[in-house]
Symmetry: C2
């Protein structure tokens, strides 16, 4: 296949990479992080891309729920969750009566651009921060695919590369650290220089953004680190597209205490126990160190005929931005109807949604809660180190257009 | 009148002040400013109020449009704009065909709590940063009322006090400065110590918040300054209620460029010239140094029968959060129907609304645009240095409950 040929994945056509092409998903990259790092003089390379001759800076919408897995999968499939099926970490399987973890690739309903490019003979590489995303992102893909978290377990037969930790020259970082993301970028640079992948996807973790607001010293340090790597990728001749899985907002009052609507408590009080089931697809509710608090919840009703009544009640609660029934949510947010419950609830910008208060252990929140999941975290950057051609000015840009912009529109 | 008597203003009853009572309106106080100043260790007094024995930290909703004048008037009348009439700086008078400035007290339709307390024999003082608010806030009020901006023009017969600049010991600051607000607090302390007002209202300017994000050094310096004065008011025995006229958000992309929907241009293109009139009540459109860009616009239609058509078009524009017709806007935001045009448009959190691009001079924007006006800037702090009693937990709190909380609920 020559570079003039096009590859169709999930109904969209992609040109073959004309140079090493890197798509970066900066987890939790509220745009203000970049803005403030530039103002502080810590991101000179990103600042340089505002020159229309050198680069392109756009804003796009991520997928709601503005969570990590649905958005990473949307970016690598170029499609919304209604196509790829991953709309959170969990859904409730009514047949088995169990909460089902969607980290398993068997829940993925669409091929990735990465796997199809590899199938078409292109060299493809994926580096993620946490290992839990690796299996989904690398599904069906021949090439290099590993996580920073388990970089010391990388083997050629299973990960497409070996001795990467030694080659990168950084110790494998703790899973909750800024260094975990730095390792992703350092490994990406090592691969770019030596393996020269045609297409590479790098995905970080939002450890820093959950803890530190835009413009604070820790956030600026993190963005300065990234800026340095982006400059190196650029100098190495790569086409670079930077986007995010979701934004990030404080979910607190003025004094840093979390603002939470505990939906299960409110619903039990109003409608009785076990009439409704609140499921928070942000995370496993039994892993409590981060509070499992985001601004998106799904609700399963024992009696579907009461949907209107429950919906009206939830919409009346302070801190709730919107309540949509399954059909409306599926249409507006392009979600698979079989995995979102009967109702979808969105929290306001400064409010998180919980299930029952006693299921959330907030003792691990050592700094004021910052989180995501709602519409308030939908705006994300779309930044390229190239000018773009033939882009419809009226098109609604999505983070899952990143491969399209890099492969089809970058000059 | 004894302290057990109650004063009714605009249908709400207020107890007489039991101690010197100070309500502070911190202009543009997005809650995150306080949160970040506390995290940086720069606001120890405000941090101490999270102890339920010492103080109360709540979140309330300001008035939309989240602008300075409507909210200051709501706070001092204890009522929404549908009662007091001030819903922006401007409205369009169809009879005269002119844009009418609402800074004149003749547009005020309700008495203030301040004026009524003075009438009931209490000592009342008002200090504002900018002089333009002074006439509205002090309307019909016997007592002390002056601005930091014109502190050197203060006379006993017109302002209720004299030689205040000399007494404060600070030079009168430039109108665009952080010091203008500091002067308000310093003057408030001087009055508290010597005039001992029963009731005092202090209102700052959002010069700092328009320029600097929460947690940045300049913002933290400003909040540290305020924290010091709040501590002094507390030590002097005052009951202190702190709120804001509105929040503040970046209105930019990741690289700091303003995101603006120029409504007049879009409407002229779609419906023809002079079919619609976009009015931005944030400010005088001919004063261009701040760009006149906020997230709220009113639209006057030549042909009111086309309201639905125009509304649908505007709602389809990227960056628009909501479009309401006059009746819906008046109901939802409690606005006077005769001063809001035919349609009210709300911009999204990261988007400002403009009229025609050539009417906005953005050359004065020396730092990335931060502004307000929309629903995204509605959450504001309500902080008291007292516990509260008899407060209904289900009540929707407003910034214009500040006097009610301080006079009727503080313990």
């Amino acid at each position: 296949m020559s570079t003039s040929e096009r590859l169709v994945v999930n109904g969209r056509a992609y040109s073959m990479p004309s140079a090493s092409t890197i798509v970066v998903c900066v987890d939790g990259c509220e745009q203000e992080y970049i803005n403030q790092a530039i103002l502080a003089g810590r991101a000179p390379f990103l600042a340089s891309l505002s020159d229309a001759d050198l680069g392109t800076v756009l804003t796009g919408d991520c997928v709601v729920p503005s969570f990590t897995n649905p958005n990473n999968l949307s970016i690598v499939t170029g499609a919304p969750p209604s196509v790829h099926g991953i709309c959170g970490n969990f859904f409730y399987d009514e047949a088995s009566g169990a909460e089902v973890l969607m980290n398993d690739p068997k829940y993925l309903r669409a091929p990735t651009i990465l796997a199809e490019m590899a199938r078409a003979g292109r060299r493809v590489a994926v580096v993620t921060a946490k290992d839990k995303l690796r299996a989904l992102l690398g599904y069906g893909m021949r090439g290099i695919c590993f996580s920073a978290e388990k970089a010391d377990e990388v083997r050629r037969d299973t990960h497409g590369v070996e001795q990467i930790a030694e080659r990168v020259g950084m110790p494998v970082p703790p899973v909750y650290s800024a260094q975990l993301s730095e390792f992703v970028f350092a490994a990406g640079l090592e691969l770019l220089r030596h393996e020269r992948p045609d297409l590479m996807y790098l995905s970080t973790t939002d450890y820093v953004q959950h803890k530190h607001a835009p413009g604070t010293p820790e956030a600026n340090d993190f963005y300065a680190m990234m800026d340095g790597y982006f400059a190196k990728y650029h100098e190495a001749g790569a086409i670079l597209a930077i986007t995010a899985d979701h934004g990030m907002n404080a979910k607190t009052d003025a004094i840093g205490r979390p603002r939470v609507v505990y939906l299960q408590d409110r619903l039990d009080e109003k409608f009785g126990a076990e009439r409704t089931r609140v499921l928070l697809p942000i995370t496993d509710p039994y892993v409590v160190h981060h509070g499992a608090l985001g601004s998106y919840a799904t609700i399963y009703l024992r009696d579907a005929a009461r949907a209107n009544e429950v919906s009206t009640f939830i919409a009346s609660l302070d801190g709730v931005e919107a309540v949509l029934d399954k059909q409306a949510a599926s249409k507006r947010f392009e979600l698979p109807t079989d995995r979102i419950g009967d109702l979808v609830v969105i929290g306001e910008r400064l409010t998180a949604l919980g299930s029952a208060a006693d299921k959330h252990d907030l003792s691990g929140l050592t700094v004021p809660l910052r989180s995501h999941g709602g519409i308030a975290e939908q705006k994300v950057p779309l930044i390229l180190n190239r000018r773009l051609r033939d882009l419809d000015a009226n098109r609604r840009l999505r983070n899952f257009d990143a491969f399209d912009l890099a492969l089809n529109h970058a000059v």
